[in-house]
Each structure stands twice: as structure tokens, then as C-alpha cells.
Symmetry: C2
Subunit: 205 residues, 2 copies
């Protein structure tokens, strides 16, 4: 398969996913090195897991859950990315995802800045990103009108916009976060970044 350098990469993630956050801090730079842009798609893992019958991987007190909470932090240190396990984790992220898609339809650059701000608010500053108030504050900081976003978060249209994104992700076989698709080739997990880079460089291997 020959990579098409004009086609953007698709990046699916949940704002409550630590590995999604680690990917969000790296994917744009990796893509740019190979002349690609990235379309970001915040989705809801809760809906994905309900549809696929999967359980949240880091839930509960299992040995796997304990390991993952340890690995989130170690992986962040390995990659040199600031990270703290939030005091409330995981959190519902529909307000963050709805705000993102509403913004994206008006200003893609502002939407990207908003997504970074939400992820860092959660995984660096330990803010409660499930709250509409936190969304409004983050949005206001980067120059988005508070009143307009507040109205948008209540609108049926904004809910449907996110639902369509999640439905589309399911249709494409997205089952977790982060999930990156390059010219139809799927890569799951922040640890697939070396393969993603090699794929972009070689056009498939």
C-alpha cells in the first residue's frame, strides 16, 4: 500500500483516556514530519464498550488495573510528557467531546487548542473535565464566547453531532483509545507510535 500524502490521518480518542492523552501530545508532530495532517475525533469509550461488550481496562482493583495505573505514569515519564493520575478517574466526557465538535465546525485551529487544553486540564491540573463549568472556563481562556458554548452544550444538535461521530467510529472498527487510522490501516494504543512513524515513512510495511 502506498501512503497518500494528501490524506489526513484520523485520531480517535476519549478525553478520559491516559494513553489517548499521551498520543495527543505526539501525533501531530509525527504526522507533520511526513507531510500529513491529523483529524482529531473525540468519542465516548463508554458507548464503544457498551456496544462491543468490553470492560473498561483500568476499572476496579484487579492486578491489570493496578498495573495500568502504574504504567500510565511510567509511560508518560518515558515519553517526557507531564502526567498525574486525576483524583477522579475515569470521568464522563460527553461535555468535553460535544464542545470540541461544536467548536471544530466553526474553527478547526481553535478546536485543536481546546482539545489540548482539556486533556492537560485533566491529566496535568487534575480539573474535573466532566463539569460544564470547567468546559466553559477552558473555552473562555482561549477566547471562545462562554454564552454561546453554554447554549450549544444544551442543544439537541450538539448531542447528535457527537452521537454521529461515535457511530462512525464503531462502524470503522474503533474499540478503544487511542485508535489511529492511516489510509485504512488501524493502529491501537499509544505504544504503536513507532509503527505509525515507520508506516508513514515507508508507505506501509
Amino acid at each position: 500500500m502506498i501512503a497518500n500524502a494528501t490524506t489526513p490521518i484520523d485520531f480517535y480518542f476519549d478525553f478520559s483516556s491516559p494513553y489517548g492523552y499521551l498520543m495527543s501530545e505526539q501525533i501531530d508532530a509525527v504526522a507533520a514530519r511526513h507531510g500529513r495532517q491529523v483529524n482529531w475525533h473525540p468519542i465516548l469509550l463508554g458507548v464503544i464498550f457498551k456496544s462491543t461488550g468490553a470492560r473498561p481496562p483500568a476499572d476496579g482493583a484487579s492486578s491489570k488495573s493496578t498495573y495500568m495505573r502504574h504504567d500510565f505514569h511510567r509511560s508518560a515519564r518515558f515519553l517526557g510528557i507531564p502526567y498525574n493520575l486525576p483524583s477522579r478517574f475515569p470521568l464522563p466526557t460527553q461535555n468535553a467531546a460535544r464542545a470540541y465538535h461544536w467548536l471544530f465546525d466553526q474553527d478547526t485551529v481553535l478546536a485543536r487548542a481546546f482539545a489540548h487544553a482539556v486533556y492537560r486540564a485533566f491529566f496535568v491540573e487534575d480539573l474535573d473535565i466532566s463539569s460544564p463549568e470547567t468546559m466553559l472556563k477552558i473555552a473562555a481562556k482561549i477566547g471562545i464566547d462562554r454564552g454561546r458554548l453554554e447554549t450549544a452544550l444544551q442543544a439537541q444538535e450538539t448531542r447528535e453531532r457527537l452521537k454521529a461521530e461515535v457511530d462512525n467510529a464503531l462502524r470503522l472498527g474503533v474499540f478503544g483509545s487511542p485508535h489511529v487510522i492511516i489510509d485504512g490501516e488501524p493502529f491501537f494504543g499509544a505504544d504503536r507510535l513507532p509503527q505509525i512513524e515507520h508506516w508513514l515513512k515507508t508507505g506501509g510495511f
Copy 2:
């Protein structure tokens, strides 16, 4: 934490685990570069999953399962390791694991050669490693007495030896394959090899 260069690394795996196979082809060389040896521990993921309540990750026809079967092969290509998805997969591996531990207690070098031969028989030659006959053939090829191994595979003692290994793995928090432990620090997955190498190099990060 300062790495203790005299302590061996522990490598837990199931003979039916593709990512375990990928790790088996790399871990000894990585450890040796940092003056370490590796203790190999074949275990039974079926018993681990039953105890932890987990489901086999690549079972069934889910989008995750489809992805994983694709990723096994792509990861092998990325690492330059020969690989074919076996026509019967996954397989029960108690005969292979029992043979390994019986051998290990007599000759650790021969046991390592046997483990490599079993993994390659399954993931390169597509042989049925669940069958005692395949175990006997592989063992005979590397100079192990067929009759003695045949007797050992039936012995209660050999069963108990494996059960003790699996119980110990569970006690240590092993929940999947491959699972590597360096001076108490756990690493899950073949994709943690870069972190393992960095940990060995720096003594922890």
C-alpha cells in the same frame, strides 16, 4: 531504584501467545546488553484469565479480535521476526509448559532451546503444539530422550510443578502474556521492550 545487575529478569508467557513469542525472540539479547540473564516461565493464560475474570483478548469475531490478529502479523514484520497466524489458534499449552519445566529442572540451557523450538513450531511452522506427540518430536530433535519425556508428561509431579508456577505468577500480579519483571518492576506486552531497555540502562526512570 537502582537495578541490581546480578538479579535475573523474569519473563512470564504462554506458548500460545503471539506477543509472548515476539518477546521471546528479543528479551535475552536486550537483557544481555545490560549484563542480565532471563528466567523464562511458561504459564497457562487460561488459568490466569479464569482467576482474574478476564476474557482472552483475541477470541471471537469482535473488532478488537480482528485488529489483534492483524497487529500480531504487522508487529512481527516491524520487528523482523518470522510469523504466521497458526491455523488452530489459540491452543491449550499445558503439555508444552509441563515439558519445559521438567526439562528446566535438569538442564536450563536445553530448556531454553526447547522453548524457542516450541514457539517457532507454532508461530512459524504451524504445528499443533497442544499434542504430546509434537512435544516429543521437538524434544527428540534437540537430543532429549523421548521415553523419559513421555513418562514425565503423565506424572502428577510434572502437573504440580506447572501449577506451582502459575500460582506464583498470579501471586506476583501476572495477568497476561508477555509479562516481564525487573527488580520488582512489571512490564506487560511486547511493546514495552523500549521501556524495558531504558529501565535496564538507567536503573529505573
